[in-house]
């Protein structure tokens, strides 16, 4: 490796912390150097730990135990002052907690019959416009959108038609929230279905199937006009869809990459640069990618309808940190290049990605 290789962004492992429980999700607390780890203790209860990054170590600030193991969490729908955490657990309950007083949830509902696999929030943290909303996707095949001001019933429910056999919903993501009315929810299922629901018109806007179960979905920005959507799946493939131009029959243009044989568990875009994203793999590896736009983002097809043109994806750097899958990944919204990842080997790692300014 010559010195030219060191001009690329480096993934530097900063801190590593061994935990005594299975870690399912890790999130940065906005506007701070604190991070949150959610998981399941060996007893079968849920565990929530709050760490602070001090010096070269993670210092445990708080540990909260809950009845059911926690699967996923988000700060996306709270304001910056409150910073309430919304969590989904193994029992299908959606709870919003005030971390200063975590005994009683601020909002609680048994939203689903089975485990909530994925959760996302929009409208909070000073990003985007419109009402704060939370979307949850569950193994019972439904995707529900909740408003913390409305108790017990979801404001939108995407469920299978009566008699249809259900498919597990593995991932959900908000997008297109650029003004108060527009909002879109994208859901990925275990049979490879990706469905895009428009919440303004309450209809299915687009669907496609990528053959392998969809592990993770993310729009590059939730609060702008839909630009790009990355969908990762089993068997090491991920697809980047260009969401600016929707063709009436062909849908959105996409480019796909195959990384390794293992599942790609998560994709996360860098908050400070929406063309850079990181994928985490089942072999304990992290890959940093850059998307390049094509010369023309849309072209006319033979009938004259507008069709999108997908660009290209290039690998900037990769590193293998663990032998177990890295199941959760989060970029810090405050410091560019700081990220936390949690793996199934019960360790949480804080990484710093260097030279992102030069990419």
């Amino acid at each position: 490796m010559s010195s030219a290789g060191l001009e690329r962004p480096q993934l530097v492992a900063h801190v590593q912390q061994a935990l005594s429980y299975t870690l399912f999700d890790c999130k940065w607390v906005p506007r701070s150097a604190r991070l949150l780890c959610l998981g399941s203790a060996a007893r079968g209860t849920g565990l929530l730990q709050l760490y602070e990054l001090r010096g070269g170590r993670l210092v445990l600030l708080r540990e909260i135990e809950k009845a059911k193991p926690l699967k996923c969490g988000t700060f996306g729908a709270t304001s910056l002052q409150q910073r309430y955490l919304a969590t989904g657990d193994f029992g299908g309950n959606l709870n919003i907690w005030n971390l200063e007083a975590p005994e009683i949830p601020v909002y609680s509902v048994k939203g689903h019959k089975e485990i909530i696999n994925s959760i996302d929030g929009v409208g909070g943290l000073g990003i985007g416009e419109g009402a704060p909303e939370i979307v949850t996707g569950s193994r019972d095949g439904t995707v529900k959108v909740w408003d913390p001001r409305q108790k017990d019933t979801p404001v939108a429910n995407m469920e299978p038609v009566q008699g249809e056999s259900k498919r597990d919903c593995w991932t959900v993501a908000f997008g297109n929230a650029y003004n108060q009315e527009e909002r879109v929810v994208c859901a990925g299922y275990d049979n490879g279905d990706i469905k895009l629901f428009d919440l303004k018109t309450m209809s299915l806007r687009w669907e496609t199937n990528i053959k392998n179960g969809v592990c993770s979905l993310e729009f590059d920005r939730k609060d702008v006009n839909m630009n790009k959507l990355v969908a990762t799946s089993l068997e090491g493939k991920f697809h980047v869809f260009d969401m600016r131009t929707q063709h009436p029959t062909k849908g959105f243009a996409s480019v796909s990459e195959k990384v390794q044989k293992s599942t790609i568990w998560q994709v996360r875009h860098l908050p400070q640069n929406r063309d850079i994203f990181m994928t985490s793999g089942g072999a304990g590896s992290l890959h940093l990618w850059k998307y390049e736009y094509p010369a023309q983002r849309s072209k006319k097809d033979s009938e004259g309808a507008e069709m999108g043109v997908a660009g290209s994806v290039s690998l900037l750097q990769n590193v293998t940190l663990s032998t177990q899958p890295i199941s959760s990944l989060d970029w810090s919204p405050d410091k560019k290049g700081l990220c936390v990842c949690g793996a199934f080997d019960q360790t949480v790692r804080v990484l710093i990605v260097t030279k992102l300014n030069k990419v």
């Binding site: 506007r31 009402a131 995407m158 498919r167 209809s203 179960g213």
Partner: protein, 422 residues
């Protein structure tokens, strides 16, 4: 017989002997010269020159120069002294022999030793080379490690710096908050006055959204900074119904039992294609009557209207045309049940089940029906245990069907009833 070379001339000093041997007409190479401590031989077939030297010489340092039809030997004596003659005078045959052999042996040993020495040096050279490359690689690795380490430290420092900045910013905000708290009561009074008079609202959040009156500080801090607009009301609840991508078999790639499913599809495809023999009888049938599907539909219609015999006929003809379609047998079994041809019903259901292997979700319905029909036939023949077996098989495929469950229960009671009686 070799030709002896006897013409030679020699002279000597105290330390060396100089021997000149003319060899005309032949090429001499170093291989032809053989020299040990006390024996010198030059053999260029057919010429031969040999000499048993007067005294031992140092054969490693002695030289032989070949050129000009002459071989010029420079032999360094081991012991300084003048020789009486070049060769030993009274050398008898045995001694000669002995000396010759000895010389050869010695030469061999020397050669061996030389090769050994060469090997050893070669090994050492190799080792040295290996170590050198290892050192180079090590150095390279270290260099890279150092670079990485430097990056790490740099990055860590930056992080600490950023953290400090954050903390300072926090402190600033807190200080500002305290200042605002002092100013608060004045502002509230002013606001109330303003609210009474003006309709226009400023973009501040105090009077509108926050229901909590107990914490004025949390939103006060940001009252100058944030311009919170009114949040829209919660969306009106709605449901979107979705369908999942249908496949021939609705299983994800990882779940599919592709082998079995492929087999089932293949069988179906084959079944469609088989046209059985004896078409001669069927020549006078209309075109559509030769189509098993059309005949099946006809049969179904007649079954629906209650014309069971005609339905059976239609199915019979269809079977003659294509005996691999399980549905034909299945439907014919239903007709036979209605006609109370119970044995035939059993036969047909069994044939249908045979054709419905391998068991895949696609032919679940058909299999349930087959089991139920066969079970019914058994029961009507009063073979209740067989009937129960079939009902339970049907229940295993479709556990949620209440009618099958009820019927199975009834049969169980019947069996228990009869066993109690007898």
């Amino acid at each position: 017989m070799p030709v002896w070379l006897r013409e030679y001339s020699w002279r000597q000093t105290g330390a060396a002997v100089y021997l000149s041997l003319p060899v005309r007409g032949v090429r001499v190479t170093p291989a032809n010269i053989f020299c040990t401590e006390q024996y010198l031989k030059v053999s260029i077939p057919p010429f031969l020159f040999e000499a048993i030297l007067y005294a031992p010489i140092d054969d490693t340092n002695s030289t032989a120069k070949i050129g000009n039809g002459n071989v010029f030997f420079t032999l360094y004596k081991k012991e300084v002294g003048m020789w009486d003659s070049l060769t030993l005078a009274n050398a008898n045959k045995e001694k000669l022999q002995y000396l010759r052999e000895n010389a050869v042996l010695k030469a061999h040993e020397k050669a061996k030793e030389e090769t050994e020495a060469k090997k050893v040096t070669k090994q050492e050279h190799k080792k040295y080379a290996l170590e050198a490359t290892m050192k180079l690689e090590e150095a390279e690795r270290k260099r890279i490690e150092d670079l990485k380490e430097k990056e790490r430290q740099k990055v860590t420092k930056e992080l600490e710096l950023w953290k400090k900045q954050q903390e300072d910013a926090e402190k600033q905000k807190r200080v500002q908050k305290e200042l605002h708290q002092e100013v608060e009561p004045l502002k509230v009074k002013k606001k109330e006055q303003m609210n009474k008079t003006s309709i226009l609202n400023e973009g501040t959040s105090e009077t509108r959204l926050k229901p909590t009156k107990g914490c004025p500080s949390s939103y006060n801090m940001f009252s100058e900074n944030l311009k919170e607009e009114q949040l829209p009301a919660p969306r009106s609840a709605a449901t979107i119904k979705i369908n999942f991508t249908s496949r021939v078999f609705p299983t994800a790639l990882r779940e599919s039992r592709v082998a079995e499913e492929e087999e089932w599809l293949r069988k179906q495809a084959e079944a469609r294609r088989t046209v059985s023999a004896d078409l001669s009888e069927l020549e006078d049938l209309k075109e559509e009557e030769k189509n098993p599907d059309w005949l099946k539909d006809k049969g179904n219609k007649m079954f629906a209207t209650g014309n069971y015999l005609a339905a059976v006929n239609a199915y019979n003809l269809a079977v003659r045309l294509n005996n691999k379609l399980p549905l034909l047998y299945l439907n014919r079994a239903a007709c036979h049940l209605k006609l109370r041809n119970l044995h035939k019903a059993i036969e047909d259901s069994s044939k249908a089940l045979e054709l419905l292997t391998p068991p895949v979700p696609d032919n679940e319905n058909a299999r349930v029906k087959a089991y139920v029909r066969r079970g019914t036939a058994f029961c009507q023949l009063e073979l209740y245990t067989e009937g129960l077996q079939d009902y339970e098989a049907a229940l295993k495929i479709d556990p949620k069907n209440k009618t099958i469950e009820k019927d199975a229960e009834k049969i169980r009671h019947l069996i228990q009833g009869t066993t109690q009686d007898s």
